[in-house]
């Protein structure tokens, strides 16, 4: 079976920015933990002793395992090639994107958290499909609103992008239930990538995340904020409106800023600790950071420590 590598950016989809994809280059999304699947050049498989037939060569890209390097081809051509087998990679990834109302926030003219998350999701999906991984998409708020099973074809990625563009965020957040449901639904080990602001009961969310770990899934948590949430730059008396409950609350920002930041800091630290305790990768970001930059630096770092 001939595998085609999805190398061409899908410029017509909003969440696939050609420039960003170009900048990302051939960077791979690799699983840190052992994932189920076939022996792959990128991801370690728990399965040993399977015979895999050689399929074809593909050019060597930095990061590829040297044990798959075809030295004979090198001797002949003076170029590096990687032997590809029938099923080189078998990473199944699920991107869980929070589309609750709180994700629909943007303090300025930049991206909302949902858009930012969609960019992240689309880009990640593209990267993984390009490296022959399969990726699924789950959008949720208090329920699962969208479930695309994992797929790796370009058409799948396109469909994913299209569905991302149609996402709406106007419901309250309830992360625990969708997470638990998904944890039960996903049978095979894979990589769970959560993109959310996690505005829910921390204990329940952490418990739900642990459910994923209990199922032996790899877990990456992208904790997204808007810069205004992190810095709270408001100065004048303001009537804040909760995006999820539409509740109004008037407060003097200058008077509560320190306490607010302290609360938020504690909130973040709690997730950090929980992720650290459960070997979950935790990435804190805000929408002012270019998502491409975020992914590049994160994934590069991730590859180096694998």
């Amino acid at each position: 079976m001939t595998r085609t590598t999805a190398t061409t950016p899908h410029a017509r989809y909003r969440y696939l920015d050609p420039e960003t994809l170009h900048r990302l280059g051939n960077i791979n999304v690799v699983a840190r933990s052992v994932v189920e699947g076939f022996i792959s050049g990128l991801h370690r498989s728990p399965h040993h002793g399977f015979s895999v037939e050689f399929s074809e060569h593909r050019p060597y890209t930095p990061g590829d395992e040297l044990r798959h390097l075809d030295w004979i081809a090198y001797a002949k051509t003076n170029r590096f090639y990687i032997k590809q087998y029938e099923q080189e990679t078998n990473l199944r990834a699920y991107i869980l994107l929070d589309c609750s109302a709180s994700m629909n926030y943007s303090s300025g003219k930049g991206l909302t958290k949902l858009e930012y998350g969609a960019f992240l999701a689309a880009t990640l999906a593209y990267l993984m499909s390009r490296q022959q991984d399969v990726v699924g998409l789950v959008a949720f708020d208090r329920e699962i609103r969208l479930h695309m099973p994992p797929g790796g074809s370009p058409a799948h990625v396109n469909e994913m992008c299209r569905r991302l563009e149609g996402l709406k965020s106007d419901e309250v957040t309830s992360l625990a239930k969708p997470f638990h449901d998904l944890a039960e639904m996903i049978k095979r080990r894979g990589l769970i990538i959560v993109i959310s602001d996690l505005y829910d009961n921390e204990d329940e969310v952490i418990r739900a995340l642990r459910h994923f770990r209990h199922k032996k899934h790899g877990l990456i948590l992208f904790h997204i904020f808007d810069q205004a949430e992190l810095e709270f730059p408001f100065t004048k008396l303001t009537q804040f409106i909760d995006l999820e409950t539409e509740e109004k609350y008037q407060v003097d920002p200058k008077a509560v800023r320190e306490a607010y930041l302290s609360e938020l800091r504690a909130f973040i630290d709690r997730y950090k600790k929980a992720c650290s305790d459960s070997d979950t990768e935790y990435v804190l970001t805000d929408t002012s950071v270019p998502y491409g930059l975020l992914l590049r630096s994160y994934l590069t770092r991730r590859q180096q420590i694998r």
Partner: protein, 740 residues
């Protein structure tokens, strides 16, 4: 508290409204708070709940700061002031006030067309016409004199103005301290709680004599004192501060010496002439120039001397005057009344007339008193008249200035009593002891029988020594040179040490101060005693050469003459008075019962000549008439209309001390008075302007400082409670930012 701004109420209302501005702004701000969507209110609510209490306190504090700032600003613009220091101007009207008006003669100093006194009266009127005029007031003069004002608080303003307008300058010194005591006593009587004391005077320091011991202001701390003392341009004043007839012999044909003290009280040197007028004031008899240095420097005071010979006996009027005028004329002249005697009559009483003149008891004494023997061609001051004890007429005693009892015995008690009365009236008795003097008799008549402890200085004892055998000789070895009887006569000891005493009368129990000369054995030789208004001298030897060689020694003649001249001077001193001093004359024996005496002098309202009558008062050998209306300067004559024998003359002068115009500084005066609130100003308007300008402690500067302080504190407090958002975020996403 009060306000300088006439629109103070506007500013206070504005301040109240301004203080509401922060509240209003807060309400508007709250109402217009922008709505901002936010992902979750969860952390905001928690943070708000945690900081709710602190925020409430901060908000209230800031609100109060801002309200205070606006209110203080508006209050400052209303220009409030405290004027506690000027209780004098606390209210529009005061309850009661006493105006003390200095009418001493220094207030006559001219200031252009006015005098100090006229200006002081203008200020007094200004006080009574000002908006702080008292409901009740009294005007007290420091020298009531001729026209005493009633010491009573009245509400009748017309009467007060009349009192002020009618007040005149006196010719005497001011006693401001004494008058202020009376003023405080007057204010004590009023039930009014609101009292003031005003003093209108000049800058003379002398007026405030006794101020250091003056406690009334401290005891009446609630009564503010205001002293109005006009400043004035420099003045000139040369003053005749005293004039005195120095000569003891005031008889026709004898040169009479008059000493005049002159002082320059002005700041510049002066050259003036002093003129002497005698009886005829149109033509000066003599003129003497004086050069005077500025006041307070050596040479600012001098003594000028005139000598004049009177050719007629009787009363004379002398005037010494400065030629020209200066700022104060009243002290440019001095008057003297002088009675010139034909000769000073002296009575010599002896025991009996001797057939041989040189054996006569009064031989030496009569020649000592009149060496010329009564020659009418050569003037001589003393006219001794000799008599014997048998012919002694007590009724004629007042004819004589001095009576000598020269070794006289056998006097009748009535005669001794007459002598005692004679001496008590101001005359002089000289008693010389000798063989005719029986100590027991003298002690009984002259000591035990007389009042005031006796007519003699001490009791007599038996004589000591032997005038015949002369086997013991005493000498006069001690004298009291300061005595007016011996002054300048005993400068050389040999004058009195040559006196040899063979026999003398011993004295019993003589007080030391009575002894003017002693013998070498310590016994008294010459004794003195004042008796009534007169004088008694006792000599322990007779004026003959048997008991001693005293009559032929150098001291005898001058001593005898000195006794007579001292006696005569005492009378003359009592007819030259200071203005205001009462005059007294003893009409006895010329008039023995109650007698009407007519006084003529400058007694009219404006000082014109007028007459007034007084009744005398009898008391034993005295028949005294008193006259106290001597405030006006000039000559006064008196007479008993029913008798040609009783008449006299006296003169009044200003107190020369008052010519000292040395000033007392405002600060010293304020400090010495020591009242809690004392003001010294040149005029009422000066005092009021000081009150309006500086005495009011304006508060706006302090309030503006408070505003500045609040304006600085407000942002400090506001920012202190606001954390720096640049430094603090929930999490810094440094790695990604750096990469960007």
């Amino acid at each position: 508290m009060n306000f300088l701004s006439s629109l103070w109420w506007v500013w206070l209302v504005a301040g109240a409204l301004a203080a509401a501005i922060p509240v209003i702004i807060h309400m508007i701000h709250t109402a217009r708070a922008p709505e901002v969507p936010f992902p979750t209110l969860r952390f905001l609510k928690t943070a708000a709940e945690k900081t709710a209490r602190r925020r409430r306190i901060e908000n209230v504090l800031l609100m109060l700061l801002r309200m205070l700032l606006f209110a203080a600003l508006a209050f400052a613009l209303s220009r409030p002031f405290l004027s506690e220091a000027f209780g004098l101007f606390d209210e529009q009207k005061s309850g009661a006030a006493v105006l003390v008006l200095d009418n001493s003669y220094s207030m006559n100093v001219r200031q252009g067309e006015d005098t100090r006194f006229s200006k002081a009266k203008q200020e007094a009127r200004a006080i009574l016409e000002s908006k702080w005029k008292p409901a009740q007031a009294a005007v007290l003069l420091t020298n009531p004199g001729v026209q005493p004002l009633p010491a009573k608080l009245v509400a009748d303003r017309a009467k007060l103005f009349a009192d002020i307008d009618g007040a005149q300058v006196s010719s005497s010194r001011a006693d401001l301290v004494g008058t202020l005591k009376a003023a405080y006593a007057l204010l004590d009587k009023t039930p009014s709680a609101d009292k003031r004391l005003w003093v209108l005077t000049d800058r003379q320091a002398l007026s405030w004599e006794g101020l250091q011991n003056f406690d009334e202001p401290r005891m009446h701390a609630d009564i503010p004192v205001a002293i109005i003392r006009p400043t004035e341009p420099s003045f000139t004043n040369v003053a005749l501060t005293s004039a005195e007839v120095v000569s003891r012999s005031r008889v026709v044909g004898m040169p009479i010496r008059i000493d005049v003290s002159v002082r320059n009280a002005g700041p510049a040197p002066e050259k003036r002439n002093i003129l002497l007028f005698v009886d005829d004031f149109g033509q000066a008899r003599q003129k003497t120039p004086v050069d005077l240095a500025p006041a307070g420097t050596p040479g600012s005071a001098r003594l000028a001397t005139f000598t004049h010979v009177f050719d007629k006996p009787g009363p004379h009027r002398i005037l010494v005057a400065l030629e020209g005028t200066d700022s104060l004329d009243v002290d440019n002249s001095r008057r003297l009344a002088l009675v010139i005697a034909d000769r000073i009559p002296v009575l010599l009483v002896k025991q009996q007339q001797a057939d041989v003149p040189f054996q006569d008891a009064d031989f030496y004494l009569a020649r000592a008193l009149d060496p010329l023997g009564g020659s009418s061609e050569t003037p001589w001051a003393i006219k001794p008249v000799e008599t014997t004890v048998a012919n002694f007429d007590p009724a004629a005693l007042d004819t004589y200035e001095v009576v000598f009892l020269n070794n006289v015995g056998g006097l009748q008690p009535a005669a001794v009593k007459a002598l005692a009365d004679y001496v008590a009236r101001g005359r002089t008795l000289v008693v010389l002891c000798g063989s005719n003097v029986v100590p027991a008799e003298y002690n009984k008549l002259f000591v035990e029988g007389a009042a005031q402890g006796g007519l003699l200085p001490a009791k007599l004892k038996e004589p000591v020594g032997d005038a015949v055998l002369r086997n013991s000789v005493e000498k006069v070895t001690q004298v009291v040179a300061q005595s007016p009887y011996l002054e300048d006569l005993v400068d050389s000891a040999d004058i009195y040490q040559g006196i040899l005493v063979y026999q003398y009368m011993r004295i019993e129990g003589a007080p030391a101060e009575a002894v003017l000369a002693r013998l070498n054995c310590g016994d008294p030789f010459l004794l003195y005693k004042p008796y009534g208004e007169g004088h008694v001298l006792l000599i322990t030897v007779p004026a003959t050469s048997d008991w001693s060689n005293f009559p032929v020694r150098n001291l005898f003649l001058p001593l005898a003459m000195r006794i007579v001249h001292v006696a005569a001077r005492g009378q003359a001193d009592r007819i030259n008075l200071l203005a205001g001093q009462p005059f007294e004359a003893n009409l006895y024996p010329n008039a023995k019962g109650v007698t009407t005496v007519e006084f003529t002098g400058p007694l009219g309202p404006q000082g014109q000549t007028a007459s007034e009558q007084r009744e005398s008062q009898t008391a034993g050998a005295k028949n005294i008439v008193k006259f106290d209306k001597t405030w006006q300067l000039g000559y006064y004559s008196w007479r008993v209309p029913s008798s040609a024998l009783s008449e006299g003359l006296f003169a009044t002068n200003p107190n020369g001390d008052e010519s000292d115009l040395t000033e007392i500084a405002d600060e010293k005066l304020r400090g010495d008075i020591g009242a809690r609130e004392t003001h010294v100003a040149a005029s009422l308007s000066d005092l009021v302007s000081r009150f309006e300008d500086t005495a009011k402690r304006e508060l706006w500067q302090y309030l503006l400082m408070v505003c500045l302080l609040l304006a600085v504190c407000e942002p400090l407090i506001a920012n202190w409670i606001r954390p720096d958002r640049q430094r603090d975020t929930a999490h810094r996403v440094d790695g990604h930012r750096k990469a960007a």
